[in-house]
């Protein structure tokens, strides 16, 4: 409008200037807006830099996805022979995970297991159903260093009880002899726990857990009164972890227990090496296990990559204080086991093992196991897209 009223010749340059000034800011702003949009898109996809975020909020990672409850279940049908005596051990272990908000998780796992032996008075099998609440806990992820857990939790002593116990994870179906040391027959405590894992250097991670448990005698929630802690260092490069555990019993003989654990997965090889040592007033012992997937075999590669061979050596020495309820061997015992597993898929496998037990007082025996394990996991609900 202004340019129209100006003279076409005399003020032509002024008209051009005004026109340019009128156009340029909006055009420049448009360019800036597009650049900002590209930056925002990148930030959304890439997320904040590693180590500088609060990933307690999963939304940081997948803004459009809401965590949903998950139902999972492990199923096993194991047959074991110890000294010629057969045992049928069908097992179902349901797991429930219920996320609440962005920092809470309610989780639980139960075990229903039968131990069936041939009926001496008939042709069938007889036994009983054993029910166990492995853990039922509420987790609160406070920050990147601390997670609080309340309820019934798996006792974090060593690595087997918490990480390797489920039948769909363990390489050999029999428990290590020293497992009941500090975890008790139920493997769980009832109370509160603080735990976490974080990088102490770019090449080392520290993980810890400290807990207090109260005494409960109600089956299947029984637990001891104790407190304890576990700490470990994990080196992701060489995939080596080592650490130690300590527990002080606040009942009966008020004894201390301690242990060490070690795990190594050399990166170029499909090999797992794990070991634990534990000592308490009840006894002491160790186990060392190696498991190797034949993925690097020069022949029959497609078949042999499903095959895993396992070897485990363990020893247990009886201590001064004997507790008949702790499921530990009553005499000094050595046990060597060799296992052969076949993975049909990552969730179905055939398992088998042979072991030779040497126990003081003439308790030598062959130990065989054969079985199948299966694991399923399904979402419960569709989640919300925000």
């Amino acid at each position: 409008m202004l340019s129209v009223s100006l003279g076409a010749t005399k003020y032509g340059w002024l008209r051009g200037l005004l026109l340019a000034l009128a156009i340029a800011p909006s055009a420049f702003a448009q360019g800036q807006t597009q650049a900002q949009t590209a930056t925002q898109t990148e930030a959304q996809l890439q997320g904040p830099p590693l180590g500088q975020v609060d990933p307690n909020s999963p939304d940081v990672i997948l803004p459009a996805v809401t965590a949903v409850p998950v139902f999972s279940m492990g199923v096993g049908m194991i047959t074991a022979w110890q000294g010629g005596q057969p045992n049928l051990e069908p097992l179902i272990s349901p797991v429930g995970l219920i996320p609440i908000g962005q920092k809470w998780l309610v989780e639980g796992r139960g075990t229903f297991e039968s131990d069936l032996i041939p009926d001496p008075n008939g042709t069938g099998w007889k036994g009983y159903l054993e029910k166990e609440a492995d853990y039922v806990q509420v987790d609160y992820i406070a920050n990147k260093y601390v997670t609080l857990s309340f309820g019934r939790y798996l006792t974090p002593f060593g690595i087997f009880n918490e990480r390797l116990y489920p039948i769909w994870i363990r390489n050999l179906q029999s428990d290590p002899l020293i497992l009941p040391i500090s975890t008790g027959p139920s493997g769980a405590g009832t109370g509160a726990m603080l735990r976490g894992g974080f990088n102490v250097t770019p090449k080392a991670e520290l993980n810890y857990a400290t807990y207090f448990s109260t005494k409960l005698t109600t089956n299947p929630f029984d637990s001891d009164r104790d407190w304890g802690m576990r700490a470990g260092i994990y080196l992701p490069g060489p995939r080596v972890e080592f650490g130690g555990s300590f527990q002080h019993l606040l009942q009966t003989d008020h004894s201390n227990a301690f242990g060490f654990h070690f795990a190594w997965q050399p990166p170029p090889l499909p090999l797992d090496i794990r070991a634990e040592y534990a000592r308490s007033s009840n006894g002491s012992g160790y186990w060392v296990e190696g498991a190797y997937r034949l993925g690097q075999a020069p022949v029959w590669k497609d078949e042999l990559r499903h095959v895993q061979v396992v070897g485990r050596m363990q020893e247990y020495y009886v201590g001064k204080f004997e507790d008949e309820d702790d499921d530990l061997p009553m005499v000094n015992t050595k046990l060597f086991e060799f296992g052969l597993n076949y993975y049909f898929r990552d969730d179905i496998r055939f398992v088998s093992s042979y072991g030779r037990q040497f126990a003081a007082g003439g308790g030598n025996a062959n130990v065989w196991t054969v079985g199948v394990t299966y694991r399923l996991a399904v979402p419960v609900g569709h989640g919300d897209a925000r």
Binding site: W13, G16, G31, P55, Y343, D346
Partner: protein, 98 residues
């Protein structure tokens, strides 16, 4: 040529320079940023695969693909159970879902 007209054209061109530069920058940036974006994303996925094998692979077999809404829950569970770090969790979720 009329001096006034020449000045008018010159100033108009000068005034439009930011517009042209803005367009050029906007046209250039997406390509560059997309490249950097893909590179960063690729790096995150590679890191996720590495961390999956270093952490999850210690007890579990090779990746079983789950829907992202399940992965978000399972990772929260494994963060508690296997004491995964923040960095592990982010990278592994990215690897398992993308």
């Amino acid at each position: 040529m009329n001096v006034g007209r020449a000045m008018s054209i010159g100033i108009f061109a000068l005034g439009c320079l930011p517009f042209l530069l803005g367009r050029a920058t906007a046209a250039q940036q997406p390509g560059g940023r997309v490249g950097a974006q893909e590179s960063a994303q690729q790096k995150l996925l590679e890191e996720g695969e590495k961390r999956f094998h270093a952490n999850c692979g210690r007890c579990h077999q090779s990746p079983h693909k789950f829907p992202p809404r399940m992965v978000m829950t399972i990772e929260r569970h494994m963060r508690v159970r296997a004491t995964l770090t923040d960095e592990d969790m982010r990278a592994i979720v990215a690897y398992l879902t993308q």
